[in-house]
Symmetry: C2
DNA sequence: TAAAACCTTGGAGTGGGCTCCAAGCAAGCG
DNA sequence: CGCTTGCTTGGAGCCCACTCCAAGGTTTTA
């Protein structure tokens, strides 16, 4: 049976920011898929799917065919996770992965891709700050309205 | 035949930031669906779909049954657009719309909803800034690598 | 050694957010 | 009057990013 992800990505705890993934034990360079699940917060399904669609580099296998992830694979997954947060489509990440696989002569193209991604991120940040301003105006409105209702009740 | 959106949302022009939607003509308070399409950048399909799922307030109709949007509807669509950029699920926006329809006694709940949305936005901004740092490190790496290749070619 | 836990595969299914279609009504124009 | 253009509806279809299933092989624990 498949281990259904216990480390839920969106936890509802009140304080303390994002639910940090457990840190990698150091000195280790071989992880089973379930270890990667706990380290990345992805599901095993998703990890295998990433591999099928060409988003992963070649993953080592044990002599019986089970995946054995290495630290560089985890580094890659970290990057993928970051890019995912920017809303970059998986297809674009696959493109980047292909460039990496193709070797050093794709440096320029990778550079361009990263730069335009960077620009996207900057404009998304700007959009969000814009939205923040709108939310703050509305929040103030409701705060005032709440005040008004309270004093009305008091009088 | 349906007017296929001419105002493409994602234009590829180089400068000048986001493709500003045309400003509303002032003094007007009745718009056909196609006017709203050009004002918001949404498609007519999407506007009708928003209505079906309960994301819109009641929209006036002409004597023949055609939609006539008013300025307050456009204001609402602006808000929806902002919230969409934050990644808020449409279902949550529908919830907010319901609260608005239910009247003044939902002020407190709306306030809470906006505040938690605000928190989400803040943490998304933080995530993006994190990602930006990663991208910058990689970009510097590739810039250096490009330099190295160039000087290699020169020698 | 036997049971429980974990891993493998290809392919099918899901949910969100649109996107489109067909068939038909309505308005403006030459 | 006929043509073009625009609007109406319910329902079907699409794309993305997973998510799960069945059927079987492997590894670990007791």
């Amino acid at each position: 049976m498949e281990t259904t992800s216990t480390t839920s990505t969106a936890s509802a705890d009140s304080c303390a920011g994002p639910p940090r993934q457990p840190r990698r034990p150091d000195g280790q360079d071989k992880y089973t898929i379930s270890e990667v699940v706990t380290l990345t917060g992805l599901t095993a399904h998703t990890l295998r799917w990433y591999e099928r669609i060409g988003l992963m580099p070649h993953i080592d296998r044990s002599h019986t065919g089970q995946r054995r992830y290495r630290n560089r694979d985890l580094d890659w997954l970290d990057l993928v996770g970051k890019l995912r947060l920017t809303g970059m489509p998986v297809a674009d990440m696959v493109r980047y992965a292909e460039l990496v696989r193709e070797g050093d002569h794709t440096y320029a193209e990778r550079f361009d891709l990263l730069k335009s991604t960077r620009d996207d991120v900057l404009s998304r940040i700007a959009e969000l700050q814009d939205t923040l301003a709108v939310l703050d105006r509305k929040i103030n409105f409701y705060a005032d309205a709440g005040q008004a209702l309270a004093s009305e009740r008091a009088s």
